[in-house]
């Protein structure tokens, strides 16, 4: 039994050092360092925690606070190169324990493609983690199509993960709802944007993994289908539910019945292991949690914990 976690975050050591020394880092700071203590850990400390949790491999992504899509593209491209070089070093120092997901400057599609190409083809990273939106634009905007085409050709995976304010924040900021509801609404809207914007038809081999179990996409797809049924989505040849199995989803639902529904609707081959390490909204003992789920078969648990990720990332199983 192995386990490969696609949803685990990193804070660049170069950023931590700069903040502690009161320096500016790619236009950020100087300012206080306000991060989870685990995010200051060295890769070796991280591996000890992975050992304790039973996680064999983390596909590490620099945290969403480093998207900075609102910043100058050249400045942020340099920031992202430094983030990616650090994650690359982790994967070189501990090749059995870490794979990487890149940061790419989505505010400039040419620069984003260039950095994705460098990370995937030179640094051996799996793909990139990106937000649900770029300065208010959703991913059905034609300007992003060259990026999806390039990623499709590279075989790169996109992990979709919100950054900054979610859609719930303008309605309420109370009770942690911008996260607990907002993340899941953001993900449903991104599913809809990719599907209804025709991206999944234009890029049949594009690999997109929707974090947080794809949010509300699977549960809410019936209402999207109704919209197609009554002729409101003439641009796509099939109802939205037919596209559910075109995406990957992490298992971060915090609910067995929700995960069961996701498996039943998207297919067990589309659900992968994702924990949100090391944040408070993570799955605390993620391997134990998956193994304890009574409504999943042993085959389903193994598919989620490692088999699907090995296939998705082209990793060898021995």
């Amino acid at each position: 039994m192995r386990s490969i976690d696609i949803h685990a975050h990193v804070t660049p050591q170069s950023y931590i050092k700069a903040m502690k020394e009161g320096q500016v880092w790619h236009g950020v700071g100087p300012g206080p360092l306000d991060i989870e203590p685990q995010l200051e850990w060295t890769p070796e400390q991280r591996i000890k925690d992975m050992d304790s949790l039973g996680v064999d491999v983390q596909v590490a992504s620099t945290g969403a606070q480093f998207y900075y899509y609102g910043g100058d593209a050249q400045v942020i491209a340099a920031m992202h190169r430094e983030c990616n070089d650090e994650v690359y070093q982790m994967t070189i120092d501990h090749p059995d324990r870490f794979k990487g997901l890149a940061q790419i400057p989505m505010q400039n599609v040419d620069l984003a493609i260039a950095e994705l190409d460098r990370c995937v083809n030179q640094l051996g990273m799996a793909g990139a983690m990106i937000d649900d939106k770029v300065n208010g634009k959703t991913f059905d905007e034609p300007e992003f199509l060259p990026l999806w085409k390039a990623a499709e050709q590279m075989g790169a995976v996109f992990l979709i993960h919100q950054g900054g304010g979610t859609l719930v924040a303008p309605r309420t900021r109370s009770y942690h709802l911008p996260n607990t509801i907002g993340n899941l609404v953001d993900r449903a809207v991104t599913f809809a944007s990719f599907v209804m914007g025709g991206v999944m038809d234009a890029c049949p081999d594009l690999k997109i993994c929707l974090a947080h179990g794809g949010g509300y996409a699977c549960y809410g797809v019936g209402r999207m289908d109704r919209s197609w049924d009554v002729g409101r989505l003439p641009q796509i040849p099939q109802p939205p539910s037919a596209y559910l199995s075109r995406f990957y989803y992490d298992c971060l639902t915090h609910s067995e019945s929700a995960l069961r529904m996701l498996i039943d609707m998207a297919g067990i081959d589309k659900v992968v292991f994702g924990t949100d390490w090391p944040f408070d909204m993570q799955i605390d003992w993620p391997v134990a949690w998956v193994l304890s789920l009574e409504s999943l078969t042993q085959d389903e648990k193994e598919a989620i914990l490692w088999k699907n990720m090995e296939k998705l990332l082209g990793m060898s199983s021995d």
Partner: protein, 318 residues
């Protein structure tokens, strides 16, 4: 076998007479009232002929959400609400066996809202009121609304929650009908959370809140709200129990457009909390609602009867 539909709309004839003859009606025009849908012009007699064809015995009629008009001067909104309510009252008088009513109330002013709810329920025999998910940006955990909930609780009035105006998600993704297919369901999840995390359900244990569209994403997304309650103090300021404990304090209509979603709702909140709601006559309605419920293979006959009429009969005292 009977059937009672709590989610069925009307565009008042008094409004139509005014705007179609070139006048405004309390500041509203032909741009309002969903006149593009010919069924909204039907007389009560035509409505009943359609109900006969659909097998719906009783509609609990509410005006379309465009008649909320919460952003107007409270005197104007109150006049709109009174005209709407008087017309629905007349429908229920003319067809007491076929039609019951839900009121419009001016939510931007709690005293005025309570006064109109009292008139509608205690003088006109209406069953409660339909209201939006927000009032000029305010959610229902705001203390100014508490007197309305307490008054409704005392009257035994049902508060039917149904979005109006711009939903969550609309601003980011204005295309593909997402404002409706995702936005309605996101709005409802936030309203569930506002009532629950805001402590309203503890303060008003007998308040009857009915969440339209199957309560949106509340049931599927509850695991993440529970996790938020576990790890964040701001989620616990008003409630001593996790939000999932409150799911069975609400009522839900069956308008999920998905059998697995409805099945999950039943399993999560309890069959006694789910009622028939069709969204007649909008295009996003259930086309043949009684036939749809009767055709669901994962429901027992008892569950179908509970949804189609038994739960509403008990709740409304019909």
């Amino acid at each position: 076998m009977r059937s009672i539909d709590i989610h069925a709309h009307s565009t008042p004839q008094c409004f139509q007479r005014a705007v179609l003859s070139g006048n405004d009606w309390h500041g509203m025009t032909t741009a309002d009232g969903e006149l593009f849908n010919p069924r909204n012009a039907w007389t009560p007699e035509q409505r009943i002929a359609d109900m006969n064809s659909l097998g719906v015995d009783i509609q609990v009629v509410s005006t379309n959400a465009g008649f909320y008009q919460y952003d107007k001067d409270v005197a104007v909104t109150t006049a709109i609400a009174r005209d709407c309510n008087d017309e629905i009252y007349q429908m229920t008088m003319d067809y007491p066996d076929r039609l019951a009513g839900l009121a419009n109330i001016p939510m931007q002013d709690a005293s005025a809202a309570i006064a109109e709810l009292d008139r509608a329920v205690n003088q006109l025999g209406m069953k409660g009121a339909m209201i939006g998910d927000q009032v000029n940006g305010k959610t229902f955990d705001e203390p100014e609304f508490l007197p309305i909930w307490q008054a409704a609780e005392q009257m035994g009035a049902v508060i039917f929650i149904h979005q109006g105006g711009s939903t969550i998600g609309t601003k980011r993704q204005p295309r593909y009908h997402v404002r409706n297919t995702i936005g309605n369901l996101a709005d409802r999840a936030v309203t569930f959370a506002a009532f629950t995390f805001g402590g309203v359900m503890d303060k008003c244990p007998d308040l009857k809140v009915l969440l339209a569209h199957g309560g949106g994403y509340a049931c599927f997304g509850i695991g993440r709200m529970d996790r938020g309650w576990q790890v964040r103090s701001e989620a616990r300021v008003n409630i001593d129990q996790p939000p999932s404990n409150y799911l069975n304090k609400f009522y839900y209509d069956c308008l999920t457009h998905s059998e697995p979603a409805l099945r999950m709702l039943i399993d999560t909140v309890g069959i006694e909390r789910i009622v028939l709601g069709t969204d007649w006559p909008a295009d996003m309605k259930i086309d043949w609602p009684v036939s749809w419920v009767m055709g669901l293979q994962s429901l027992t006959l008892e569950e179908k009867e509970a949804i189609l009429w038994k739960n509403l009969e008990e709740m409304l005292g019909l």
